[in-house]
C-alpha cells in the first residue's frame, strides 16, 4: 500500500547537520577565524559588503565562513541580517575629495596635482602562481610615503573648471532608498546608482564589456579611480553640527565620456559614476560604464543595446534575486506539472486520433510530391 511521503522536518534537520559538518571540514586542521578572513581575504569581504549594502567587515567575514566561501550566499546572509536593522539616520554625502588616498590613478592626465599613486594593486604583477606563498613566509612591511595632508583634487573637478564636463548640481533632498521604497521605472539616477552599487559584479562587468564591444558604445576614459578612506558623518540636529561615525574604505571611479552635444545640451564630456564599498576597482569601473550607458535617453542617444535598457539592467543585476528565482525551480512543482501532464496527454490523444483518421496513402503522395 502506498503511503504519502512524510518526514520533511527531519530531512531538513539532517541536511543542515551534514552542511555544518562539511563546513567544518577536516577537524585535524585549525578552524579559520573571522579575523583571518578580514585580514587575508579582504577583497572577498569587500565584495560581500558592497553587494549586501552593509559595511561591517567582521559580519561579512562571518557570512563568508558560514557560506563556505560561496560569495552570493554570503551576500544573501548579510542582506537578510541588514533587513532587521533599524534605519537610524541618513549620513551626509561622503566627501571623496577629502579621501585619505591609498590609490589614485588617472588615464586622462599624465601628471596632475596629487600625483598618480598605484597603491595595493594586482596591476603589473605577473600572474605566475607563487609557490613562495605556501606556508607562512615572512612578508616585509610595506614602505608607505608620508601623508602630506594636501587634498588630492578630483579629475572631474579639473574639467569642471573649464566647463568641459557636465555639472552635477548638488541635491540636498534626502535620496530615495531602494531597500525601503518600491522600485518604479523609470528610476531617478540616484536610485539607479544604488541598484548598480549592490548589483552583481559579474553581471555588471559583462554589461560594461558589451558597451566596449559596440553594444551601446560610450567612448569612455578613466578620468580617475581613487581608493581610500572617507569619513562618514551624520548631522545631529540637537547638537547643530555633524558628528563623525568613523571611516570606511571606498572605491570611486569617474568615467569621462565623449559627447558631441544634442539639441538641449552643448558638446561636453559626460560622466559615468561608480562608487563601491571597499577596494573593488573592477566593480567601480563596470558600474560607471553601466551608469553612463543607462543615461542614453538623457542625451538623446538611441537605445539599442542591453546595457542601455534600464528595466533590463536594473531588474536583473541583483544576484540575490537572481539566484533565488533560478534556484526556486528545484522546489516542487508537482501540481503544475500534473496540470501540464494532463494537457499534453489530451493533446497527444487528439493528435494520435487525427493521424489515425487520415487515409494512409495521403502521406505517400506527399512524400512523392
Amino acid at each position: 500500500m502506498y503511503v504519502a511521503v512524510k518526514g520533511g522536518e527531519s530531512a531538513i534537520e539532517n541536511a543542515h547537520r551534514l552542511l555544518a559538518d562539511r563546513r567544518r571540514g577536516d577537524r585535524s586542521l585549525p578552524a579559520i577565524t573571522e579575523a583571518q578572513i578580514v585580514e587575508q581575504l579582504s577583497l572577498s569581504v569587500d565584495r560581500v559588503m558592497a553587494e549586501a549594502s552593509l559595511y561591517d567587515p567582521g559580519l561579512a567575514a562571518l557570512a563568508i565562513r558560514q557560506a563556505r566561501g560561496d560569495m552570493i550566499e554570503a551576500i544573501f546572509i548579510l542582506r537578510a541580517y541588514r533587513t532587521t536593522l533599524p534605519r537610524l539616520a541618513v549620513s551626509r554625502p561622503v566627501d571623496t575629495a577629502a579621501m585619505r588616498i591609498e590609490r589614485r590613478i588617472s588615464a586622462t592626465y599624465k601628471d596632475l596635482p596629487g600625483g598618480q599613486l598605484l597603491g595595493p594593486t594586482f596591476d603589473y604583477t605577473h600572474r605566475l602562481i607563487d609557490p613562495a606563498l605556501v606556508g607562512e613566509p615572512d612578508v616585509p612591511e610595506a614602505a608607505v610615503a608620508e601623508v602630506t595632508g594636501e587634498p588630492v583634487m578630483r579629475v572631474a573637478d579639473i574639467l569642471a573648471h573649464e566647463s568641459l564636463i557636465e555639472l552635477e548640481p548638488r541635491v540636498d533632498a534626502e535620496p530615495g532608498d531602494i531597500t525601503r521604497e518600491p522600485t518604479e521605472f523609470p528610476m531617478p539616477r540616484a536610485e539607479r546608482l544604488q541598484s548598480l552599487a549592490r548589483g552583481d559584479e559579474g553581471f555588471l562587468l559583462a554589461l560594461a564589456y558589451s558597451t566596449q564591444r559596440g553594444y551601446g558604445r560610450s567612448h569612455p576614459f578613466v578620468g580617475e579611480i581613487r581608493i581610500g578612506l572617507v569619513e562618514v558623518e551624520i548631522d545631529v540636529p540637537e547638537l547643530g553640527f555633524a558628528v563623525s561615525l568613523g571611516e570606511i574604505r571606498l572605491t570611486e571611479c569617474q568615467m569621462v565620456n565623449q559627447f558631441k552635444g544634442s539639441a538641449e545640451k552643448p558638446p561636453q564630456f559626460t560622466r559615468g559614476y561608480g562608487l563601491v564599498f571597499g577596494q573593488s576597482e573592477r566593480k567601480a569601473m563596470a558600474m560607471s560604464l553601466c551608469d553612463r550607458a543607462l543615461r542614453a535617453a538623457e542625451y538623446g542617444e538611441d537605445i539599442t543595446a542591453p546595457a542601455q535598457d534600464e528595466e533590463f539592467v536594473i531588474s536583473h543585476c541583483d544576484n540575490v534575486q537572481a539566484t533565488g528565482f533560478v534556484e526556486h525551480l528545484k522546489l516542487p512543482h508537482y501540481v503544475d506539472f500534473q496540470a501540464e501532464l494532463g494537457l499534453v496527454r489530451r493533446l497527444r490523444a487528439n493528435y494520435d486520433a487525427a493521424r489515425a483518421a487520415e487515409p494512409e496513402d495521403d502521406s505517400f503522395e506527399e512524400a512523392a510530391q
Binding site: 502506498y2 504519502a4 533587513t83 531597500t179 528565482f325 526556486h328 508537482y334 503544475d336 494537457l343
Partner: protein, 289 residues
C-alpha cells in the same frame, strides 16, 4: 520592548520591525481597496531566498498576530520541505500556534494550491507569487504593462487564448490561468492549477498575494467576483480526473500522480494531504462505530 513583540530568535515579533509591517499593511489595504491591482511595495530582504515565498512570508508577517493559527502548504501538502521550513520560521519568530487542518487555521500561506476544504469568513489565504504580472510573457516591459492595466488594454491576453484554440483546439493554459477581478483588473492567480480558479470566486475568505522579488502585493477581498478569462463559445473549464483518490476515494479534488515503478505503474492521490488524511480518519471512525 515587551515580551509579546520580541521573539525567541531575538528579532521583532514575526521577524519584521513594526515600521516595515506598517508599510506592508498599507500596501495590503490599498490592494484590498483596488481588487486585483498590483500595489508596489518595498519588499525586504528575507532570510529565505527570493522565489521561495518571500512575498508570502512578508504578507503573513504583516497580518499575523500572537493569537493566530498558521497553516503552511506547498503543492497542497503541509509536509513538503519548503512548507515545513516556512512554518518553522514563524514558529520561531512569532511563536504562533500551527496546524495542518484547514478549518482550524486563521492564516494559511500557500504555494500553488487552494485547500479543498471550503474557506470561511475570517480566514486569510496568503499566496506566494513568483511572477505577479499576467501580461509579462506577452509584454516584458513593466512601464508598458502598467499602462495596459491602467487603460484596461487586455486584448493581447485574449490573443494568447485565441492562439491556443487555433493550434490546439482548446485553451492550453493549465495553471496560473488569468482571471478578471471585480470586472476590472486582469490578475495572475499565482501558479495554482486552473482546477482551483473557481474557489477564488466569491470566496468568503480574504485572499492576499505577495510577490517578494517583484515587489508587488495584490488582493481579492471577500465575496469578490473572480472570472477566469475565456471565450463565449470556448468557456473556461477545469481539469477532471477519471478516477478518485486511491487513498481516500475523494472525487472532484485535485490529484497528484504517483509513479509506483518503472513499468508505467502509477496511482492518483489527493494533492491536499490534510483533506485526504481527514477523510481517511473519518472513514476509519465510521467502520469502527
Amino acid at each position: 520592548m515587551s515580551a509579546v513583540t520580541m521573539s525567541e530568535a531575538g528579532t521583532n515579533f514575526a521577524y519584521l520591525d513594526e515600521e516595515t509591517k506598517r508599510m506592508i499593511r498599507r500596501a495590503i489595504l490599498k490592494a484590498i481597496a483596488i481588487p486585483g491591482y498590483q500595489v508596489p511595495f518595498a519588499s525586504r530582504e528575507m532570510p529565505m531566498p527570493y522565489g521561495w515565498g518571500t512575498g508570502g512570508v512578508q504578507v503573513t508577517a504583516a497580518v499575523i498576530g500572537p493569537d493566530d493559527v498558521l497553516k503552511v502548504i506547498d503543492q497542497g501538502a503541509d509536509d513538503t520541505t519548503n512548507a515545513v521550513s516556512i512554518r518553522a520560521f514563524f514558529r520561531k519568530v512569532a511563536r504562533v500556534a500551527v496546524t495542518t487542518h484547514t478549518a482550524e487555521a486563521t492564516v494559511i500561506q500557500t504555494r500553488h494550491r487552494i485547500p479543498e476544504h471550503p474557506l470561511i469568513e475570517g480566514q486569510i489565504l496568503v499566496y506566494q507569487v513568483p511572477i505577479p504580472e499576467p501580461l509579462r510573457f506577452l509584454e516584458p516591459r513593466e512601464t508598458e504593462t502598467r499602462t495596459m492595466h491602467a487603460l484596461e488594454e487586455y486584448g493581447l491576453m485574449h490573443v494568447k487564448l485565441y492562439e491556443d484554440i487555433a493550434h490546439h483546439g482548446r485553451i492550453a493554459t493549465s495553471y496560473a490561468y488569468p482571471v478578471k477581478v471585480a470586472g476590472r483588473y486582469v490578475m495572475d492567480p499565482s501558479p495554482i492549477p486552473k482546477f482551483d480558479n473557481p474557489k477564488m470566486h466569491l470566496s468568503p475568505a480574504l485572499q492576499l498575494f505577495g510577490a517578494g522579488r517583484e515587489k508587488r502585493i495584490y488582493a481579492i477581498p471577500p465575496h469578490t467576483d473572480v472570472r477566469s478569462l475565456d471565450f463565449e463559445d470556448h468557456p473556461f473549464e477545469i481539469q477532471r480526473f477519471d478516477e478518485p483518490c486511491a487513498l481516500c476515494g475523494a472525487r472532484n479534488v485535485y490529484l497528484d500522480e504517483v509513479i509506483l515503478d518503472d513499468r508505467g505503474g502509477r496511482m492518483f492521490v489527493c494533492s491536499d494531504t490534510d483533506n485526504c488524511e481527514s477523510r481517511q480518519a473519518d472513514a476509519q471512525k465510521e467502520t469502527a462505530a
